[in-house]
């Protein structure tokens, strides 16, 4: 890293740590992460999609997919696509990108971002991609069409589709052939049999208003839903039973992610992170049945995408341009994260 890069890194670190300390204390528990550094993005517009494959950070911004090295903060490569990047995910060494105008899938080589192949999609604009690596199933969601389609992860061929009723939010797959889609119209989680893409029913989210975000622990079989009324619910997916609730930030733009042992020691066996509403908050998983609120980190800029890198316990946030500043990637972690 250049001297200027180091200076920027130190500057950002001081800034974000100060922000952490000075920010309003909204929960007794201390949020375990601090700002490590941030990367200003050269392209215009907000980041629409973000993925971490364990080594590099893949960013979809406007019509460009870029690859960043997390340690040097340098852009390794980028690829312009004809259209707007709506979602992306990694599939066995390939980056699958959902692009609109026209709607299609682009399959890129993970390191070089070389376009391997394309697959035309329907007329609707894609909203989200989820790859279930255990079941080897790829799902694409079209929120404007209220539809979820299962795709062949290698070719992008549509294998089945289900139309749902209501406003759809984040998706999560259980690795065993079931897909969950949070439904903010019905305050519920729609359950889809992924093999046939049939609607199996809905899990109600009681006292949860307009849920938008959803994540899943496929081992513990827990669903984590974030509600716009400042509640996060932990649901036993086998029973559809909400057994715990935690206060989180209010917000209609929440997104959720779960990771096993993002920090490991000190009682952490996993973490659930909710981003949006001007903050990122955490719930610590102490066991499959015991969870604890783990604080909140206020954010000064709107987050447009986020991802978690479980092996190193790092959160990546993509923040929107603001006050003349371009979009940026913020990296949150602990000193331990850096060592590892």
């Amino acid at each position: 890293m250049s001297a200027a890069g180091v200076r920027q890194l130190v500057s950002n670190l001081i800034c974000l740590v100060a922000l952490t300390v000075a920010g309003p204390v909204v929960h007794a528990t201390i949020f375990p992460y601090h700002g490590l550094y941030r990367i200003s993005l050269p392209d215009a517009g907000s980041v629409g999609a973000l993925a971490v494959d364990g080594r590099d950070v893949c960013v979809g911004q406007g019509d460009t997919v870029s690859l960043y090295a997390p340690t040097s903060a340098e852009r390794i490569d980028h690829q312009h696509l004809d259209g707007t990047v709506r979602a992306l995910t990694t599939v066995d060494g390939t980056i699958v990108v959902a692009v609109s105008d026209p709607s299609r899938l682009e399959f890129l080589a993970a390191r070089s971002l070389r376009v391997l192949r394309q697959r035309r999609l329907g007329a609707a604009t894609p909203s989200e991609l989820v790859y279930d690596s255990l079941a080897r199933m790829l799902f694409i969601e079209y929120r404007t069409a209220h539809t979820v389609t299962r795709l062949d992860p290698q070719t992008g061929r549509a294998l089945g589709s289900v139309r749902l009723v209501g406003a759809l939010g984040q998706m999560a797959a259980n690795g065993r052939g079931t897909l969950y889609v949070v439904n903010s119209t019905h305050d519920a989680i729609d359950v889809i049999g992924a093999r046939r893409m049939n609607y199996e029913g809905a899990i109600p989210l009681q006292r949860c208003s307009t849920p938008r975000a959803l994540a899943m622990d496929t081992v513990g079989r827990r669903l984590f839903a974030a509600c716009s009324n400042g509640r996060a619910l932990i649901v036993d997916a086998d029973l559809g039973f909400t057994f715990d609730r935690f206060p989180i930030q209010y917000g209609r733009d929440l997104r959720a992610a779960f990771a096993f042992r993002p920090l490991g020691p000190h009682g952490w066996k996993g973490g659930i992170f909710f981003v949006g509403g001007g903050a990122v908050s955490a719930i610590q998983m102490q066991s499959f049945v015991r969870y604890q609120a783990a604080g909140r980190f206020p954010l000064t800029r709107r987050v447009t995408a986020f991802a978690i890198a479980p092996p190193v316990g790092v959160l990546w946030l993509a923040v929107a341009p603001s006050g003349g500043k371009p979009a940026a990637l913020w990296r949150l972690g602990t000193p331990v994260s850096e060592v590892r």
């Binding site: 519920a188 989680i189 359950v191 199996e200 029913g201 809905a202 899990i203 109600p204 036993d236 086998d238 029973l239 559809g240 039973f241 057994f243 715990d244 609730r245 499959f288 049945v289 015991r290």
Partner: protein
């Protein structure tokens, strides 16, 4: 004229009550819409409540069910319950502060305040023996065990509403948790239990007029529930596609059990039976028309021969068609019968397992058949036994019974407490039936030795046996029938009427 009309009307009403109510052990649950708007007094610990607790969630749930909830703390005066249709007591209320102020109130009580059970007379006073609370700090292993309840009773209104089966179910969601248990008195009904023993009741009830552990009678319905301070949100339930699995639906029934028990508590109890031998006699005569009784005895058996003859004569006088057979007759003789009555003159050994599975109501006058007939377990002198048999019992002869199930039509309107069953002390048999049985009378000073009880059809009996029809014990020694008091004979008739009712 008016007086005569009034008397006639009353008599008709009593006959109707005797004939109709005797057939029904429990009144039906009031539908939820009819319970909406009823006032509930919710007693908590207020600002002194241990934290965390689920009192707010419970209050919200009660409101969602349609109740008008008023929350008070344990120090609130008794008058706070005026106008309430139900008192709900949380474990967060200090039992010593609660004292006995609600004990005698004729208002139903639903409580998970385990330490308050003795105040209400629902259990004895001794911690760990009569009641207890399992918590993850003091009893870590047991706090996992209380995640599993057992459907001890499958025929009560609560059990039917829940679809309770004689199997384990999930009480609370997965975490080692705090839960209370109690050992109810002889008039109590265990709905669900812990640790594989009905001595550790997780959910238990007292019908109005049932005898409490302290010998008093319940002034209104009482329910004890296993919850701890912050367990309510962990009461099991299943939602969404997993609810399509019937096994899961029968497993995750904690919340349903809570709601059904609450519903039962606030529903009106059945009318109190009135002691009126004439009305009972009339009702029985009506019911007896066209009914056939198989009377099984030791024909020409010597002792008891006269009593057997008198019982048969009494049944025939009531209008029953009675067929008398010897104990050695094959079970096929019961075909077409409406009631089997087994005399105490029968030899348990010779009778073998006959009539056990007969899909016909059965009354045994012989208590020693209790294991054969699956009324109870097979441990003689522990599960069943006798008083007054010189060579077979250490207990003296007895002629009184203690009525503990006065609320039941089987008790014929007799008041709770001691009643003279026979004129002279003699042999009285007893058994300790399973929770599905309704216990009417125990032996005096022996609250676990039940003399008169009945199992409804479909009840879970001992050895996993399911009652193919009503089953009852009414212990008469060989010659006791001729020595019965009028009250004793009324009990006999009430039992017959209960048993034959379709």
């Amino acid at each position: 004229m008016n007086g005569l009309f009034s008397k006639l009307s009353t008599r008709v009403l009593l006959i109707w009550l005797a004939s109709v109510l005797i057939s029904q052990g429990y009144a039906a649950l009031q539908p939820w819409p009819k319970l909406a708007g009823k006032a509930v007094l919710f007693v908590t610990g207020g600002i002194t409540s241990p934290k965390p607790n689920d009192d707010a969630a419970v209050a919200r749930h009660l409101r969602n069910l349609g109740f008008v909830v008023r929350t008070v703390n344990a120090a609130a005066p008794q008058a706070a319950a005026d106008g309430a249709a139900l008192i709900v007591i949380s474990s967060t209320a200090n039992a010593h502060e609660l004292g006995k102020k609600f004990a005698d109130m004729p208002i139903p009580i639903f409580t998970w305040n385990t330490f308050d059970y003795p105040n209400l007379g629902m259990t004895g006073p001794v911690l760990h023996r009569d009641f207890g609370v399992i918590d993850p700090v003091q009893q870590y292993a047991d706090s996992f065990a209380v995640l599993y309840g057992f459907g001890a009773n499958i025929t009560s209104e609560i059990s039917r509403a829940v679809g309770l089966k004689p199997q384990l179910f999930g009480t609370l969601y997965l975490e080692p948790e705090t839960a209370g248990w109690g050992r109810p008195g002889p008039g109590g009904t265990v709905i669900a239990d812990f640790f594989g023993s009905r001595r550790y009741a997780a959910v238990f009830t007292y019908e109005r007029e049932a005898t409490l552990e302290n010998g008093r009678t319940a002034p209104a319905r009482r329910v004890g529930f296993y919850l701890g301070n912050d367990d309510f949100h962990l009461l099991t339930a299943v939602y969404g596609p997993p609810a399509a699995d019937p096994n899961l639906r029968q497993w995750a029934i904690g919340l349903k059990l809570f709601d059904s028990a609450l519903q039962w508590a606030v529903s009106p109890p059945p009318p109190e039976p009135v002691y009126d031998p004439e009305a009972l006699d009339t009702a029985l005569r009506r019911a007896a028309r066209g009914m056939k009784v198989l009377y099984v005895e030791r024909v020409n058996g010597g002792e008891g021969r006269r009593s057997d003859a008198h019982i048969v004569a009494h049944l025939r006088r009531l209008g029953f068609e009675v067929k008398v057979v010897d104990q050695t007759a094959p079970q096929s003789v019961a075909r077409g019968m409406n009631l089997i009555m087994i005399s105490s003159t029968c030899s348990k050994w010779k009778l073998a397992n006959k009539y056990v599975d007969a899909p016909i109501p059965l009354i045994s006058l012989e208590g020693l058949l209790s294991d054969t007939l699956h009324f109870t377990g097979r441990d003689r002198y522990t599960d069943y036994g006798e008083h007054g048999e010189i060579l077979e019992s250490d207990d003296p002869p007895e002629n009184y019974l203690d009525i503990v199930g006065a609320w039941s039509p089987m008790a014929a309107g007799l008041k709770p407490g001691l009643m003279k069953f026979t004129y002279h002390p003699g042999v009285l048999k007893w058994a300790w039936p399973l929770p599905d049985a309704t216990v009417i009378a125990t032996l005096p000073n022996e609250p676990r030795e039940d003399a008169i009880f009945g199992y409804p059809k479909g009840a879970r009996m001992a050895d996993g046996f399911i009652a193919p029809a009503r089953r009852a014990l009414l212990p008469l020694d060989n010659s006791s029938y001729d020595d019965m008091t009028p009250q004793g004979k009324v009990l006999f008739d009430a039992m017959v009427l209960w048993a034959i009712h379709r």
